[in-house]
Symmetry: C2
Subunit: 202 residues, 2 copies
DNA sequence: CTACGGTAACTTACCCGCGGGTCACTTTAC
DNA sequence: GTAAAGTGACCCGCGGGTAAGTTACCGTAG
């Protein structure tokens, strides 16, 4: 294992090719959803054929899981760091948005993997995605609770609803952002800040 | 044609069966998306087989279009009526939400047909759905413009973003509502009113 | 320096199940 | 007996998945 560098091989080292395939897979899964994405298309994007993809990832689920873990780990880590920073409840949404935009500026489809509704209802993917969603929902719930209690409201079902709407807002903003590739993370954060200030005075 | 009532037939009159199939199709398409829904499953829900479905609607696209038109017409009509009523810009979101909840209390999946991303990129369905979305987006844009100008903000791109986020909010609320069948339209409207009052003072 | 063998990267050609779509046929009420 | 309601059994393309073979690079023997 030590120094296993480029022993008898053609093309590109596996590690590098796998990374390419995960990037292409993330875009394709994000665009078309798990069910709608085609393995041959993902391979084609990288200039490779399907069997190589299967040799490296085993199955469609295997590739999806690789993409999902990369996206989910980065996302939960970024949000956790931001939330840990603390601050006024009204400021958290904007801070979290900025963190997301910055982290995924060049990988905008990644967010969608966690919210993909076309994945099979049971199995490894469903479990992993549910786990990431659970962690993110916990942050959303925490933020919503802080916001509501700071205003003297505490109906737990209302708070659940707000948390779910919040994830929907992030979803919408990212979809909007995907359609405008020229808008970078900084501009996007500034836009959101302007809007929140204007609409809610936050 | 006059008095064409039940001439030599078994089972159920076509009109009635078609209505059943449209209802079942709306639920199934709303749940699984155009691509994920299965024609045989939709037929099975009604206690009928696939060939009858094809005899009545011609194709998957034909059935989807029937479902889409029913949902789209009711939705645009309801929103148009509400918007025409006028009122304070801060009150419009809640009014529109109430109208949607009331109209679709027993048909909660209908909204999703207009926002289904798994429909083919071109063809009759894409055109019809795009048309309904265009009409609804125009209302959203109008509402967002009124809201923003009442606060002295006028960046047209910001307004576009707000309009898209608004549709995402409706989406989230309806998804949340679908998961809570016991919550009726009145309770749902009350919840939204409470939240908007609490969070934004609207 | 060249011939050679080994291994990893990569491909061609195939299998198979699932779901859209169709045909010929049967059942039931008037 | 006629016509609409309804069905069983089939075709076919598409996409996930696989078996077997080929290509290119490297290290080493002569």
């Amino acid at each position: 294992m030590t120094e296993s560098r480029a022993v008898g091989t053609k093309g590109m080292p596996r590690e590098e090719r796998e990374a390419q395939l995960v990037v292409a897979g993330t875009e394709e899964f994000g665009r078309a959803g798990y069910a709608g994405a085609s393995m041959v298309e993902i391979a084609r994007r990288v200039g490779v054929t399907k069997p190589l993809l299967y040799q490296y990832f085993g199955s469609k689920d295997g590739l999806y899981l690789a993409c999902l873990h990369r996206a989910g780990d980065r996302l939960t880590e970024g949000v956790a760091t931001t939330m840990a920073g603390g601050g006024e409840p009204e400021q958290m949404p904007l801070k979290v948005l900025s963190a997301i935009f910055t982290t995924f500026d060049h990988d905008r489809y990644a967010w969608r993997l966690l919210r993909d509704e076309t994945v099979p209802g049971s199995g490894d993917i469903a479990a992993a995605a549910a786990d990431y969603r659970r962690r993110l929902d916990a942050f959303a719930l925490l933020g919503a609770t802080q916001l509501m209690t700071s205003r003297g409201l505490a109906d737990p079902v209302d708070i659940e609803a707000i948390a779910q709407v919040w994830t929907g807002v992030v979803d919408s903003l990212i979809s909007w952002w995907i359609d405008r590739p020229d808008e970078d993370a900084v501009a996007m954060s500034a836009r959101c800040a302007r809007i929140m200030e204007g609409l809610f005075g936050w």
